[in-house]
Symmetry: C2
Subunit: 341 residues, 2 copies
């Protein structure tokens, strides 16, 4: 039978109240007594019944998710997952609020964070945009005792507690590896298209990509990165122009969003002349393109995992628990048309 607090009290020869004081770090227990209780705990292998504890506490955690009002599929998916979490919030004793901010706008983000800090929620998750203002706002949040997690795009060097997202440098390296191998020994040019070099995740992907391209595939030369602000229409235009200009493009890495436009542009190219394409995020568009053969490989980060991980970490931080790195690592999924979920 699983030991309970009563068993510990009996085993340590103290009262229930004292056990409670030790377990919950309340004051008023002599050092020797505390040790006696702790020994009983480890002897009996007691573990707190979290369900019962939460039931007794009745406390709910209030979290705020700050989301850029982007309309690309991936951000929509993230929002959906946050909303799914909100609907589960009753069962998990969390209360989640979503705050919208304009995308790629450091000042607006910092302002939003400051406004949120005034409400004193237990935790905040946000998609980082780089900027000194944001760093400062994060510092203020932490000062107020609020747990802070970055989501999808990180803000290294800031005082955030955790980053819930993938290793974007590794993603770029993986993309390069796939593209290099899929082009099968041929020589030619590689085009890379990003949303914006102002966003850290895109920059890191490109860095990783270029590194592996340089190291392992000298036969391929990468054109200067194109930026299309994750806008499908702009992306279509840019890609079409590039393909028209350089008939020797044999590979394309789409490291941002706006794949709808890119797919559109690729469809115009005759089948034999189509480059090998690696893109990010499994969405309706990219899934169809993968099945059709317009995209050759997809790198994906699981939005659901990221959101749930962020919530788990926030909760843990509020309770003063350490982050279990292995559990919170978000994987880079690779999808070919054969292993699409």
């Amino acid at each position: 039978m699983k030991p309970t607090v009563h068993d510990i009290a009996r085993s340590a020869g103290v009262s229930l109240a004292t056990v409670d004081r030790v377990l919950n770090g309340r004051p008023g227990v002599r050092h020797v007594t505390r040790e006696r209780v702790e020994k009983a705990i480890s002897n009996l292998g007691y573990v707190r019944d979290v369900a019962a504890a939460n039931l007794a506490k009745g406390r709910t955690y209030s979290f705020v998710f700050v989301m850029p009002s982007n309309d690309n599929s991936f951000m929509i998916e993230i929002r959906d997952e946050v909303h799914a979490a909100m609907s589960r919030s009753g069962a998990e004793r969390t209360q989640i609020r979503v705050v919208d901010v304009p995308p790629f706008d450091a000042q607006a983000l910092a302002d939003a964070l400051d406004r949120i800090a005034a409400d004193k929620p237990d935790g905040v998750a946000f998609v980082a945009v780089e900027g000194a203002q944001v760093h400062a706002a994060v510092a203020r949040l932490k000062e107020t005792g609020i747990a802070v997690v970055t989501l999808v795009s990180d803000l290294p060097g800031s005082e955030r507690d955790h980053f819930a997202g993938i290793d974007n440098n590794a993603a770029g390296r993986t993309a390069a590896n796939l593209l290099g191998r899929f082009t099968g020994g041929r020589e030619g040019r590689i085009a890379a298209i990003a949303g914006s070099m102002l966003v850290r995740d895109h920059r890191e992907r490109l860095e990783g990509f270029l590194a592996v391209m340089g190291e392992s595939f000298p036969r391929l030369s990468v054109l200067p990165v194109m930026e299309a602000r994750d806008d499908p229409a702009l992306a279509a235009e840019v890609v079409s122009a590039a393909l028209g200009h350089h008939p020797d493009i044999i590979g394309l890495y789409s490291l941002g969003a706006g794949n709808r436009g890119i797919v559109h542009a690729l469809r115009e190219v005759s089948e034999g002349a189509r480059p090998v394409v690696v893109a990010h995020e499994l969405t309706r568009t990219t899934r169809a393109a993968l099945a059709e053969g317009l995209i050759d490989a997809l790198l994906n980060q699981d939005a659901g995992h990221e959101v749930r991980s962020a919530i788990r970490v926030l909760k843990g931080k509020v309770e003063g628990l350490p982050v279990i790195a292995a559990q919170e690592r978000i994987r880079i999924d690779i999808f070919l048309k054969d292993n699409m979920p």
Copy 2:
């Protein structure tokens, strides 16, 4: 505030006892009253507090995991995950027992299942071996009212409730796709090495592999599959022999275990002459080989996910809940050296 049973009772104008009778399907409620209560439940959006319910029930689920006494890394990992689940079992109100059976032995497996049935656990998970005896044993388990889940290797056509594992046909297809593309337009032979064609998962992988090879890569000819019973020593021998015999082998698909031996054999080959290699399962050996470049891509099924999914499904079955397919789908992970976790 989250509604409770009290709120429902008040809203429906009935007593707590009646609400309880409706919620737990107990008899003795008139049809009209039952409907009134159900309406109140949906009106208020009541959801049972599972934690509190479990606390009150105090029931624990008893599950048995039947594992082949294989010593390959993947099976060891599965066992480790089962043990990890056992150590968590207190918190999750499950009691898990592990039963060992000799590998690849349908009769022994069937006997073990029959012995287990006598104990009347709530659920059983096992790694299937094909055979009429096993089908019959599963039927007997189900007759006794025991939930049954197959793990890693399935037993289609049997009365098992669920399969916790990957789509092995898709895995084979994915391997073929990778191998085809990584060999980059060259012509040559492809070797495939399996554990045993008696195990369904290996057979399905091979089927998928051959299908895509035939469809998409006619320039590659696949040699007859070699079987090495997941034994490293035997695998090393077989692979060495094949490579010696056919200098035009440019690709190798290791679809079973025993990769330690295969890696050993590959190391003997001069770097330029090494085939492209796709293997299964991320273990210490394969991870090192991937980093070193001896293996080019790894397909992986997450042992932890599989075990946890099996337990979740067993629990659900005992409680009469449906399986949420999307949640229980085990993904085929692809790892290149750049996205290893």
